[in-house]
């Protein structure tokens, strides 16, 4: 008993001792601000003066910068600092957090000591991200439509794997020739060699969902847009095929959802849920400027062909043209009455196409007041639009669970690609427009032969059971049921033919083969 008491006392002393040393931003102040202040005072709400009064507190730089009018911290002088004054004010109308219980004395003292100590930043918390808890037990049914006769059993084939729920597919991009497909999902990007029908590279442990993927024109760089929802946005530039990280671009306050590379390859523009568009040099990876003219999520953006401006689309129902060197708005295109989620620039330089919660595709000329043409077909929000590099074809992915192809010149609907049974978020066309790919909420990537509209096959990657597992798990399935995959996945497949379970061994003997989805 006495020992325990002693221990408790010592522990008390230890915590006290720790509190004695200087507070730092990263270790002490940031968690406190996140808990109490950042809900209103963040970059995203900085322009909403009613909420934030123009003050953001979600980064060290923002705190030091204060509002446009004045600083909120004077290092070394807590009593004269607005930040401390507001937190400790006696008058309720002046005290922050507004309409909430005040900070405890310990908490406001911490802020005081931090400012008095000269607002030291400290080092970012080095504690490793707690290991992700992954669910990988739901039975996933692979939708194959084929009949077979195996071991006495005859009839439709059914294939299931206990690897769900699969992370949704959030972005797709073909490398120029169409042989390589980059697939982005939560925390992971996989490059698939379609001719081999297997992954050639997996980039794992990425922070949050990857919502944007862009290849450089020469196909030697892959740019990833991602981030932790409501916390941070990250852009990474990798060299491919070797997968070395070249640059990491920080600055967005929420997930990066759109990326565009200037046609000359020297500038990058990014769109984010943090309501901003940012510009970066691809030469040295530096930040160039910010556009804050949108008042809600910016969902996507494209460079105009001359590289001088960027067109961005937003949940604020506007399409804006931004000067890529001054970062100022050139004009707003108003026609949408609901969120605008997707944009694709016409490779022929004739204009661009937008769509969103209103599902009709709007075909704009750069100088027009209203879209010159509307093409309808989708029955739900259009999540992504992409042209083939030659401009011959446009693909659209929609929340109506369908993927559609359109003539890139006339805008006439070509066909609906069959297969998807869930909300589709991402779609891409190969450079020559021959291959189409799309994916969505169910985590299955589908690849089609675009001319015929026939489904070639499906690509599947389960969430990684262990972060340390170096071996990517994968499964590539042809529409006729033939498949290939990592041993670990083939080993958990469950088969039935004509409603009758059959042994994995005989099924794999029948169905396993090399899967070519490229079909040169």
């Amino acid at each position: 008993m006495r020992k325990l008491l002693c221990l408790v006392l010592t522990m008390g002393l230890l915590t006290a001792a720790r509190a004695e040393d200087q507070p730092t931003y990263e270790r002490d102040i940031k968690p406190l601000l996140i808990k109490k202040c950042v809900g209103c005072h963040n970059v995203g709400k900085q322009s909403d003066l009613d909420v934030s009064a123009g003050l953001a507190l979600d980064s060290y730089e923002a705190i030091i910068a204060g509002t446009e009018a004045h600083k909120v911290v004077h290092p070394g002088k807590a009593v004269q600092s607005e930040l401390y004054r507001r937190l400790s004010a006696q008058v309720e109308a002046e005290r922050m957090p507004l309409n909430s219980p005040p900070l405890t004395t310990d908490q406001s003292d911490l802020v005081k000591r931090w400012i008095d100590a000269g607002t030291p930043r400290g080092t970012p918390s080095t504690t490793t991200v707690t290991k992700r808890r992954i669910i990988r037990s739901l039975m996933v049914t692979i939708p194959i439509e084929t009949k077979a006769k195996i071991d006495e059993a005859e009839g439709p084939v059914s294939l299931k794997l206990p690897i769900g729920p699969l992370p949704g597919i959030s972005s797709l991009a073909f490398r120029g020739d169409g042989r390589e497909l980059a697939v982005g999902s939560y925390g992971q990007v996989t490059l698939w060699d379609l001719a081999d029908g297997r992954p050639s590279l997996t980039l794992a442990d990425l922070p949050g969902p990857v919502h944007a993927l862009a290849y450089s024109r020469d196909g030697r760089r892959l740019v990833l847009g991602m981030g932790l929802p409501a916390r941070s946005g990250v852009i990474r530039i990798y060299a491919v095929p070797d997968g070395t990280l070249v640059h990491q671009l920080d600055g967005h306050g929420d997930v990066v959802v759109g990326l565009a590379i200037r046609p000359d390859g020297c500038q990058l523009a990014s769109a984010s849920f943090d309501q901003t568009v940012r510009f970066w040099s691809l030469v040295d990876g530096t930040a160039q400027g910010v556009f804050q003219g949108h008042s809600d999520f910016v969902h996507d953006l494209c460079f105009a062909r001359d590289g001088k401006s960027v067109i961005s689309v937003s949940k604020d129902r506007t399409v804006k043209r931004i000067d890529a060197s001054t970062f100022k708005e050139l004009r707003t295109y108003s026609d949408h009455n609901e969120s605008v989620l997707a944009i694709a620039i016409r490779p022929d330089g004739q204009g661009f196409v937008t769509a969103g919660d209103e599902s009709a595709l709007r075909w704009w000329g750069f100088e027009e007041e209203r879209p010159g043409r509307r093409t309808s077909g989708h029955g739900g929000p259009v999540q992504q639009l992409a042209f083939s590099a030659d401009g011959s074809r446009l693909i659209s992915a929609s929340g109506d669970k369908s993927v559609r192809l359109w003539d890139g010149k006339s805008g006439i609907a070509q066909r609906t690609l069959t297969g998807p049974t869930e909300w589709q978020y991402a779609a891409a066309l190969s450079g020559n427009g021959k291959l189409a790919a799309a994916g969505g909420w169910d985590g299955i990537v589908r690849v089609w032969q675009a001319d015929k509209g026939s489904l070639l096959g499906m690509l599947i990657q389960p969430p990684r059971a262990s972060e340390a597992d170096p071996m990517p798990e994968w499964l590539a399935i042809l529409s006729d049921g033939h498949l290939d995959g990592s041993a670990s996945l083939l080993g958990v497949t469950e088969w039935a033919v004509g409603g009758k379970p059959i042994s994995r061994e005989s099924a794999l003997k029948h169905f396993q083969k090399n899967v070519d989805l490229y079909q040169e």
Binding site: R132, I135, P165, P209, W423, W441
Partner: protein, 803 residues
């Protein structure tokens, strides 16, 4: 152990007497269906002295077989399939509750609609100030109070690139990180990370965030247990919310239901359904869940039951007296005959009695004279004026919208109806199915007052059913079972009504003709689907020729619970100064009557009479409750709800102006009306009158009883005191006072008697005569003295109020 028991007994003896309490458990038997089913038990003790207490917290629980498990709070969870008993023990008494467990090992799939949505609603995520607002918050929009599962599922799971949930790594979902404040959240902390709600959302995510299942069982009824309790002040009671589902199962939804007090000053209740009695009277505890509501009635008696003498003449007296007994209240004495005469005349025909009427009524020795008076009043011509006025308010008879001719046609139809004592059901039918010229067919104006299907649905619900349907136009009614489907179902009855100008009166005659077409539908705005005509809470009903005929049949039929209740409540409210349900035109399950048995009885009697309004009035006017004095007694002074004494009310604008005119022997000249037209006989409220406007005459713009303001205002007092209106009427050459003073033999006493009879409609007391005589004597001359006295009487509360 024995020592503890002994101590318990000893401790409990003084409080509860020697007898063991009789235990009652809610629910009395339990069926748990599925692995996640839970049922909490509530234990009540009935004691020898008649008191009742919640013993849930003191009780101990034990399952006989491991078929069921039960925790210390009395929550039963499934063990294995089978049947057993849970033994409940409290204060040495015990009772057994049979428990049946079914499907305890069935696979468990969390239902978005039935499990996740209620959690979000309970946490307040979808309330109007947060994500339920018109544009959502922070880019995330949910339906108000979670009535639309489909768009909410999309918003949570699919929208914004699916950023809000990550089922494969559930703990990283924004849906959990935001409300637990692991990530900054503008709405603050709403959810504890280790709460059962967090665990449920996590489980749902782990299952892949399954969406809506077609034909999934949905709530069809909500009940609250116990549903009534007699409570002593400062005692408490745990309540249970029990939902019945379309698959027949009954589930304990206490944890997810919202609890609110009705009559906040009398009882309070926390979010877990634990209520406390804080003041005397009758209160309610309302539970709400998935658009359904249920109410438990709490009675906190004013005192122990008192004997009182009260002789019941009809069903009203019986039901009201029963309530007094339950609450320990006692009635005041009957009012005087003069008071009754004035009161009944104002209430039945809007008219004050003449001195002759007062004298002969007071002098009449017959014991049934009050009943006979009521019968006489209901046959008087002013009955038609007065009730046409009242219904003119309800139906908004107003020349602004209808033109003078339409307004007069509508007014004349009302007058005919009351003259003939037309049953309300006939009036409803004539109104709802009206066609033809608005100039020649009065009720056709019903379709001009409200001109589109939505307005007509709202008006019809409001006027005939006492149901305020407006909320359901845009979203599910927060306190009722109505949603947009119900709203547009009712509106569909009026979608085929068209208006065309008439040839007969020429293009400039402004005559309109209401006619029925064979096409025209309303669409539910959210789904865009055509809605078939359907009455509220009822089976769809249509008519091949005119949809409205089906509606009229339903309105007047036995399946419409509202028509009779609505009118019984309104008429009770008009006469008694306060409805059994208040506001008197807001009938809903979540706004219960103060005396349900009385409202039921009156409604039934009204139906049995063939919807005869005079019989309804007679029932109320001849009850002894109506005839009670307005003076409270020490035994009932705290009561303002149970009609132990008559509730005084200010004369309405028209009653008051007529009373002033009668008292002063003057008349009013209204624009376009013959001299001497009484205010109660004006056909609409457009006739200019500063007096009537000041005293709260409605403009008849909305179908709400609230439009006629009963509240006294400073402007009213000043108008009576200072305006030249009263002065002019007092001194008018052919006015009452001038005429009285003309008698050369007039004594002061006779003068004073006359003035009291004309204004207060009673004889003055000797003290009043004395005081008044002094006033007249001290005046410069008799005329001035008499004017002063009369002015004082007309400004007295006794004159301005019906008492």
């Amino acid at each position: 152990m024995r020592l503890v028991s002994l101590l318990l007994i000893m401790l409990s003896l003084p409080a509860y007497g020697f007898e063991l309490p009789r235990l009652e458990v809610f629910p009395s038997s339990v069926t748990l269906n599925g692995p996640a089913a839970r049922q909490r038990l509530v234990v009540i003790g009935h004691f020898e002295d008649g008191s009742v207490r919640d013993l849930t917290q003191q009780a101990s629980f034990e399952a006989v077989e491991p078929v069921a498990k039960v925790d210390a709070l009395g929550t039963i969870s499934p063990g294995t399939d089978g049947a057993t008993d849970v033994i409940v023990r409290a204060l040495q008494a015990q009772i057994r509750v049979p428990v049946e467990v079914e499907a305890s090992s069935a696979p468990r799939t969390v239902s978005f609609r039935n499990e996740i949505q209620p959690v979000l609603t309970k946490l307040g995520c979808n309330q109007g100030a947060c994500h339920g607002s018109q544009h959502g918050k922070g880019g995330f929009k949910l339906s108000l109070l979670g009535f639309e599962a489909e768009p909410d599922y999309t918003a949570i799971v699919k929208s914004a690139e699916g950023r809000r949930v990550t089922p494969f790594a559930p703990d990283e979902s924004l849906l959990l990180l935001k409300p637990t404040l692991a990530v900054a959240h503008g709405g603050g902390k709403k959810l504890e990370a280790d709460s059962p709600e967090s665990a449920l959302i996590t489980l749902w995510l782990e299952q892949g965030a399954p969406g809506l299942v077609p034909d999934e069982a949905h709530v069809t009824k909500l009940a609250i247990l116990p549903d009534r309790r007699m409570m002593a002040l400062d005692t408490d009671q745990q309540f249970l919310a029990m939902a019945t589902y379309s698959d027949g199962t009954v589930r304990d939804v206490t944890a997810a239901a919202k609890f609110d007090p009705i009559n906040e000053g009398l009882a309070k209740v926390d979010s877990k359904g634990h209520a406390q009695a804080i003041a005397q009277g009758e209160a309610g505890v309302m539970a709400r869940y998935m658009g359904y509501a249920a109410i438990a009635r709490l009675t906190m008696p004013y005192g122990i039951e008192k004997p009182f003498e009260f002789d019941s003449t009809n069903v009203i007296d019986q039901k009201v007296a029963a309530k007094w007994r339950a609450l320990g209240l006692a009635p005041s004495k009957p009012c005087t005959d003069a008071e009754f005469l004035r009161r009944a005349m104002l209430d039945a025909i809007g008219t004050t009695p003449t001195p002759d009427e007062v004298e002969s009524f007071v002098a009449d020795p017959a014991t049934d004279k009050r009943v006979r008076l009521v019968d006489r009043l209901l046959d008087r011509p002013e009955y038609v004026d007065f009730w046409t006025l009242k219904w003119g308010d309800l139906l908004r008879v107003n020349a602004d919208k209808l033109g003078a001719q339409g307004m007069l046609a509508f007014n004349l139809w009302l007058r005919d109806s009351f003259r003939a004592n037309k049953p309300v059901s006939r009036m409803v039918e004539e109104l709802v199915t009206a066609q033809g010229s608005i100039f020649t067919n009065g009720p056709a104006n019903y379709f001009r007052v409200s001109a589109n299907p939505e307005d007509l649905a709202e008006t019809t619900a409001q006027v005939f059913m006492g149901v305020r349907l407006q909320c359901a136009k845009c979203h599910h009614h927060p306190f009722e079972a109505y949603g947009q489907d119900d709203y547009y179902g009712l509106a569909a009855y009026f979608s085929r009504i068209k208006t065309k100008p008439s040839q007969e009166f020429g293009l400039f005659g402004n005559e309109q003709v209401i006619y029925v077409t064979q096409a025209g539908d309303v669409r539910q705005p959210r789904t865009g689907k055509v809605v078939a005509p359907r009455p509220l809470n009822a089976e769809a009903a249509d008519d091949p020729i005119d949809r409205r005929r089906a509606l009229a049949r339903w309105l007047n039929g036995p399946k419409n619970p509202w028509l009779a209740r609505n009118l019984a409540n309104r008429y009770w409210g008009y006469l008694m100064g306060r409805g059994l349900v208040n506001p008197i035109d807001d009938l809903r399950e979540t706004n219960p009557p103060s005396n349900p048995e009385l409202l039921d009885a009156m409604a039934q009697s009204f139906i049995d009479s063939g919807y005869d309004l005079k019989k309804l009035l007679r029932l109320i006017l001849t009850s002894h409750v109506y005839g009670l004095s307005a003076q409270a007694t020490p035994d009932n002074r705290l009561d303002d709800t149970f009609f132990t004494h008559y509730r005084v009310k200010r004369l309405t604008a028209e009653q008051l102006l007529d009373a002033v005119n009668y008292a002063t022997g003057t008349t009013e000249k209204f624009n376009l009306r013959p001299v001497g037209t009484r205010a109660i006989a004006l056909p609409d409220t457009n006739t200019p009158s500063y007096f009537l406007d000041t005293f709260g005459r409605p403009v008849r713009a909305i179908a709400c009883e609230c439009e006629r303001s009963p509240d006294p205002t400073l402007g009213q007092a000043l108008h009576l005191m200072n305006s030249d209106l009263i002065q002019r009427k007092l001194s008018q050459a052919d006015g009452r006072l001038t005429q009285i003073l003309r008698d050369p033999k007039l004594s002061d006493e006779t003068l004073i008697h006359s003035l009291y009879l004309y204004s207060f409609n009673r004889e003055p007391t000797p003290f009043e005569v004395e005081t008044a005589r002094d006033l007249i004597k001290e005046a410069p001359d008799r005329k001035v003295g008499a004017q002063d006295l009369f002015w004082g009487l007309l400004n007295a509360k006794e004159f301005v109020f019906n008492h």
